[in-house]
Symmetry: C2
Subunit: 268 residues, 2 copies
């Protein structure tokens, strides 16, 4: 058997998320169908982590096992010919048998794009969060560094116990629980290390970039929602430190919309 590793980009707007769900459009399910047509094999590609409905990817990584003799240089084209234009395979390579897209991941990078102009261009409406109201962007930039380092991010994790029980029953969660959807049960390890965290300005957008060794479910969107409180002046960096220390989801800001979030890169 070969272990094939794909790098994928997708527009998450018309999918209910990465994870396969019967009768619903998902990235994983769409990919599984196209691979099945090419190989006759029934495989479920494993991603580096799940992405939620409406969340995009510039560089999701996924692997699947196959006995197909299709040469490595042909895979990208045959997969892209079968996939919808909203999912593109950027690279295909042979991976060692023990390579696992989620468990082997050492770091992930996410972008969150906020469009700041009064009128959001129609071509961007599915790809950003349109927030035209006043924000103290320099206070947000300063606050971004507060989350750098090793912390318990429980305050920024989604509260969805049903989902966690379902996930726990389905798969083995690795020690560090890489992937957006892991590690939210009571007593789970919600400690993650954020390597870098910053806000930058580009073409009318205010963009958050965060790189870390793993992310809890909704963690990036909850961080963005909390930085927004800083931008609105209702929270300062000291307040943000207290929220982090509280290890209590109800202390932090609201979850920012899915449309602005991109999984940019996974490092191994």
């Amino acid at each position: 058997m070969r272990n094939l590793r794909l790098i994928l980009s997708y527009d998450g707007s018309e999918f209910v998320g990465w994870q396969v769900q019967p009768g619903l459009p998902t990235i994983q399910g769409t990919l599984s169908t196209v691979i099945g047509r090419l190989t006759g094999e029934n495989v479920l590609p494993q991603g580096s982590g799940r992405t939620d409905a409406g969340v995009h990817a510039l560089g999701q990584v996924t692997t699947f096992a196959t006995a197909s003799p299709i040469p490595i240089e042909n895979w990208r084209k045959v997969l892209n010919d079968g996939l919808p234009a909203s999912i593109r395979v950027l690279e295909v390579s042979e991976a060692p048998a023990d390579f696992h897209a989620r468990k082997s991941a050492k770091a992930k990078t996410y972008h969150y794009r906020i469009y700041r102009g009064d009128v959001c261009p129609p071509f961007l409406s599915r790809y950003v969060w349109h927030y035209p109201f006043p924000l103290n962007e320099s206070a947000m930039s300063q606050a971004a560094s507060v989350v750098v380092g090793e912390h318990d991010f429980t305050s920024f994790a989604a509260v969805d116990p049903d989902r966690v029980q379902r996930i726990a029953a389905e798969e083995t969660i690795s020690d560090r629980g890489h992937g957006e959807s892991s590690g939210k049960a009571d007593g789970a390890n919600n400690v993650r290390t954020v390597f870098s965290s910053e806000w930058t300005r580009k073409d009318g957008e205010f963009i958050y970039t965060v790189r870390g060794n793993g992310f809890l479910h909704h963690m990036v969107r909850n961080l963005v929602g909390t930085f927004l409180l800083v931008g609105k002046g209702s929270l300062d960096s000291e307040g943000l430190r207290k929220i982090l220390a509280a290890r209590n989801r109800s202390a932090a800001g609201a979850t920012a919309p899915a449309s602005g979030l991109y999984l940019v890169r996974v490092e191994y």
Copy 2:
């Protein structure tokens, strides 16, 4: 009565075009509905010209008459609040009573975007034509200048007599027939002046920009399809001159897909 002038941007992907059609999603119809809700008036905004299904606009101009007392500075917000995110009002101003979005137009600019990379990013698939095959781009750039000046563009006009009869019955066509849909009947004046015509490279795209005093239906897309023959080496600039002189649609190349075309600007 006031004569209000709007500058609009829209993503044409999910519309059957500018012109109102009962029971189908159109830009003109959507705008008419929103204006009706705000004013109680039954108006059909007049555009600078029609755009076809899937064609986009960065700066379409449209006017409508209203007796509404809504202050000029509030119009943009109330219209955008009522419109879908795929249509955005960029500017609203009061226009003289004799201002007509189509008849008063002096020049229009279009862009046509061709994505040249092997894999089209999923975020661009509705906004470009993906053409990854070899093209002699410098030959296309040179050929672009052939169409500059005053010419009879019959070779690049859509052949759709039914549509033209319908249009002729509906509205008065101005002398120069400004607007994509006008002037295609036998004996109609298909002479237009192209002020500039050029191809440029930007971010993996090869982009055609053309500015002229008016455009026949499908003219830009037919020009692009014909420049493509030059890029493929099956036509040279001399051949392009002969096609222009032939005044016969069957002489030119195929119509390029709608997704790459943008109405950029209308000048008055």
